[in-house]
Each structure stands twice: as structure tokens, then as C-alpha cells.
Amino acid sequence: MKKDDIKIVSYYMGKIVLGVGILLIIPIITAIIFGEYEPFLDFLIAESIFIIIGSGLSLYGKGCIGRFRWRHGLIISALSWLVLMVLSAIPYYLSGCFGSYLDAMFDVMSGFTTTGVVLIQDVDHLSNSLNMWRHLLTFVGGQGMVVLALSCLITKGTGSVYMYVGEAKDEKLLPNVTDTAKAIWSISLIYLIVGTVILTCAGLYIGLSPSNSFLHGLWIFMAAWSTGGFAPQSQNILYYHSTIYETITIVFLVIGSFNFALHHSIWKGNKKEIYKNIEMVSFVTTLFITTTLAIGWFNKLGLYQNSISLFSKVFYQIVSAHTTTGFMNVYTSQFINDWGSMGIIIISIAMLIGGSACSTAGGIKGLRVGVFVKAIIQNMKKLVSTENRVYTEKYHFIQQNILSDEIIKSTLLIIILYILTFSIGVIAAVYYGYDINAAIFESASVTGNVGLTIGITSPSMPTGLKIIYIIIMWIARLEFISAFALIWDTCRGVKKSWEHITKKSA
């Protein structure tokens, strides 16, 4: 990478760091309101470091705008997530709730990627400001940090498109990417207001104190909409002991897992899209299959004796897994002890499939599953047809699209990469001595950015596995391309530096 390239990357990364740094004002205000003085200082320190790093990067890269290429966009997106992981972990670490800085970074990456597995300790005694930061990170991560910066700090230009795509979002809601980013935020903020009001009312109804009704309502909405799965209490959703509260969260986490292009289309009055969209058809079909299998399995086990229990525990967990949210109303050990091997396989499949493309959700995505099935149908038709006939399979996604070989190829490539990443996660956990079933479950959760845990993810897990899971969460969330671009460039840089050193010494 040349000096000019570094300057371009530095300039835009500075902007992104400053953009995310603005968010720290929210936990700072929360700390002031609730008289949390030590967290207030933690966030003040973090804010200062964000501004220093952000301004420094921006100043260094100043004057190098206008020669923006694809490579820059991809590297900026991938690198921003890593830099922001390090910086956003500052208030986490200063809070004293983490065993190490690595644990704090693990939780930040888990939040940004809307995964939801945590290493934080003593969640039940966390300050409101720290909880605000945790949930804010997952909410922003769902939309995308680059999307945030594009919508408020970075002006229009070709670079915006490259960075936007680099963050695994390729749907253009509007002709301009900056306007698209603003539209994504508008949709999310309107839902945020509606969701918080509904969950606050529900919170009051189920017996939460007025202030907690609001705060929990806000945080649970953020975690549901972003399919993040964080919660302010250690028992996660089980803390509320309420089917009503659970049902409301189901609605928001399902809506949150939909494609932003679908939201935009429906908002524009195209309500038929919801029935025709390939992702919706794919989601409903796979959800129906996994739920039916799971309920059939639990009927055989006989653990849950009525339909409300089956709905609350089995259907809820399947939806939570399929939308890659990771809300839990059962204990981690129940997956091993109660769900059994069949249950683990079903829920792992749901986690790997995931939600929609260009949404807050993770996983392989409904669009790719739909395209994959259509490709199989197309090939089967070709096989049984007469030689002269030409089949053209179509699929509906906002508009009618022809299923080209190019689309099939790119879809298969991403699916293969997901399965490879998942396999690496399984092998790593087995290497560290975990049971194969547990390894499959946890790896599916981390690769799909889900957040359900079978108990592997804990502060005492091996450091190597923590690092592997961080990399998996990051790569899977960015859907490989930008992460690979960064890794490729870093390797080239290291190789060149090595050659330079060896030449000099010779």
C-alpha cells in the first residue's frame, strides 16, 4: 500500500471514528442523569481518545480525496471495525467488569456484529450508562458503522459506494448511497420510537419500575431490532417471566431481520412485496420446517407439556436463532441437557441460515438460500427436459430478476465460505477440548452472528478460542470480501517489508 493509499484510508477512518465517537455522548448523558460518576469518567476518557484518534487520522489523511478505489472502500470498512473494536472497549475495560482487555474487545465485536455472546461479568450490577453503551453498540452495529458515518459525516462521492458495499450492504434504497444510509437510519429510528413505547408499556404491565420499564424497553428493542441479543440482566429474556414481553420481542426481532430494501418498498406502499419477495418466502419456509421439526422432537421428549410452553421455549428459541438475534429464555446448559443432539442440529441449521441480506441479521441469509434452491430447481428442469429447450428461472426480489450463472456462482461462493468458517470454529473448539455437539452449536452461533450459547463462551474459555471467535464474528458479519481484502493487503505489505529488509541486510 502506497503512502497516498494509507492517507485515503486514514482520512475516512478518522471520519468513521469521529462519527461513532459522537455516540458516546448518549452514555455520558445517561451517567449524568443517574449520578453514575465513575462510569461518567470512563466515558469521558473514552470520548477524548476517540476524538484524539479520529482527528489525528483525519488530519493525517487530509488532502488525499478524489482517487478513491474499490480497494480503499473495502479496507476502510474492514479496518474501521477493528479499530472501533479496540476503541469502544475502553469504557468496558475501565468499568472493571471484564477479566482482560481481550474480553472487553470480544464483547464489543459481539455487539458490533450483533452476535450477542458475552464475556462480561456481574451483568446484574452494571451501571445504566454501561448498559446504554452495550446496547447502543449493537444497535449501531446492526445498521453498520460506515452507514452511520455516511449518513452524518461523509459527504457524497464514489468512495461512499465502495465503503457501503464493503460493510456487506449492497441494496440501494435510493439512487444515492448517502441518501440510502439516511433512509436506513430513518427506518430504524422510527421503529426505535415505536418499539420503545410498546415495550415500556409492556414493562409497566409486567411489574418493572417506571424507569426500568423505559430503559429495558429501549435496550431490549435495540437488541431485538439489531438482532443483537444483549439484555440488561444475566438471565436475558428469562428475567421477565412473561410470555407477553417475549411475544412483543418476537415481532421486533423478526421485523429487524428483514431486508432494509423490503422495509423501504413496503413504506413506499408496495405491500405485495412481502408475499412475493424471495427472502420472505425462504424465511417463512425454513422457519416453518425448523419449527415443525423442533416441536415434533419436543413432543417426543415430553419436556414441555402444553402449547404455551412449546411456544414460549421452543418456537421462541427457534425464531431467536433463525433471525440471528440470540435472545434466550432457557439456560445455556438446557441446550445440551434438554434439547439433545437433534435439537442442537435443528437450531444450528436455523442459526446458519440466518435472516435477510442488507438487514441487521447475520447468517448465510434467506436470499442466498432462496437462490440456491431456485438453482437446484433450474438444474433439475434442465436435466429432465429435451435438449433444445432453454430454461430461464426467475426470482422476485423488489423486482423480477433472472437467475444468471453469475448470481448462482457468487451465492455458492458465499455459502461455501460460511460453511468453511463454521467448520474452522468447530475444529477450534474441539481442539480446545469441547464436546463436538457443543462445538457445532457455538460455532453456528458465532458464524451466524446469533448469540445463543451452549456454555463455551465464558470468561474462562481459552484465549486462542476467544481470538478465533472474534475473527469469525468479524469476517462473517462483513461477508468475507472486505475482510479478505484487508488480510490480502496486510500480507502483501508484510511480504514487501520483509523483502525490503532482506535486500538491505544483503
Binding site: 476518557i45 477524548s48 476524538i51 483525519s58 411489574g207 417475549e246 407439556q305 421455549k313
Partner: protein
């Protein structure tokens, strides 16, 4: 003399056995969750800190407790709520309560929750405020970093303009 000590010894053993019979030996929540099927519908005793809000539901209420090995919901009668004065949250330690009740692995009447229906609760340690002094190094760090951040931000903004 020997008979006297023997009597005291037997008395102590009897007292322990009677205590276990009446109050039972407490079990930690982590073990309960891990071996849920073994304890299903059995009477258990736990000692843990009350955390979060008390969620009132008609004649009963939910209170969640955490003993450091895990957290679980306790379904208690409304009349027992007043016994708990403090619940754990930021800078507050909740009352430590001893709960005797029936453990449910998947309580059908409560949407399949793993929980305990309390027969008897008692506060064994009163909680309260637990404010810790602010670390001095944080004041120093904030005092040093904030002006630097302000200056850099100002320069950046001026150059951008």
C-alpha cells in the same frame, strides 16, 4: 464425664439433623440448573441475592435471585414481598434471601420456565448501598486527555473549513 460429652455430642448431631430436616441444606443455583431433571418438583433450599425489580403479578410476584453460580426466578406470594427491602443493582447489594420451595425444570403453568415456587423465604443478610470510591487515576486521565482532544478537534475542524 465421658457420658456428659457423649450427651452433648449426640445433642449437637440431633440438632444438625433436625435443622437439615426442617430447613434443609442449601444448594447452589448453578447445580440446580445443571441437574434440573434430577431436582424436578423436589423441595430445594437456596441462598442468593435478590436482583433487579420485583415483578408483581396479581397474588404472586417474581423475584430473581443470583448466588454467583447462576440466577433463577422465584415465584413468591405477594405478602412475602415486603420482607425484601433491597434488590441488587448498580452500587447496591440486594438482600440475601433463603428460599425454600419447589423447583420446576419446566413449569407448565409458567410457560415452561425453570423456576422455584417459594413456600418460605427469609432474609438472612440485609443488603444496601455499596458505593466504591472513584479511582484517582481516572480524574487525572480525563483531565489530561480532554484538553488534548479539544485542541485536536479544533484544528481538524478549522482545516476542514
Amino acid at each position: 464425664m465421658g457420658t456428659h460429652y457423649q450427651k452433648i455430642g449426640i445433642g449437637i448431631i440431633m440438632w444438625i439433623l433436625i435443622s437439615i430436616r426442617i430447613f434443609g441444606a442449601s444448594i447452589n443455583i448453578g447445580t440446580l440448573i445443571e441437574k434440573a431433571s434430577e431436582f424436578d418438583k423436589n423441595t430445594v433450599i437456596i441462598e442468593a441475592e435478590a436482583i433487579g425489580d420485583i415483578l408483581e403479578r396479581g397474588e404472586y410476584a417474581w423475584i430473581n435471585v443470583n448466588d454467583g453460580t447462576g440466577a433463577i426466578g422465584i415465584y413468591i406470594k405477594n405478602e412475602d414481598i415486603d420482607k425484601i427491602k433491597h434488590t441488587g443493582k448498580y452500587q447496591y447489594v440486594g438482600d440475601t434471601i433463603k428460599v425454600k420451595g419447589t423447583f420446576y425444570h419446566a413449569w407448565a403453568e409458567q410457560s415452561g420456565d425453570m423456576a422455584i415456587k417459594a413456600d418460605k423465604i427469609e432474609v438472612i443478610e440485609v443488603g444496601g448501598e455499596n458505593k466504591q470510591p472513584i479511582h484517582t487515576y481516572k480524574w487525572v486521565m480525563a483531565g489530561l486527555l480532554l484538553p488534548v482532544a479539544g485542541i485536536l478537534y479544533g484544528i481538524n475542524k478549522r482545516i476542514n473549513q
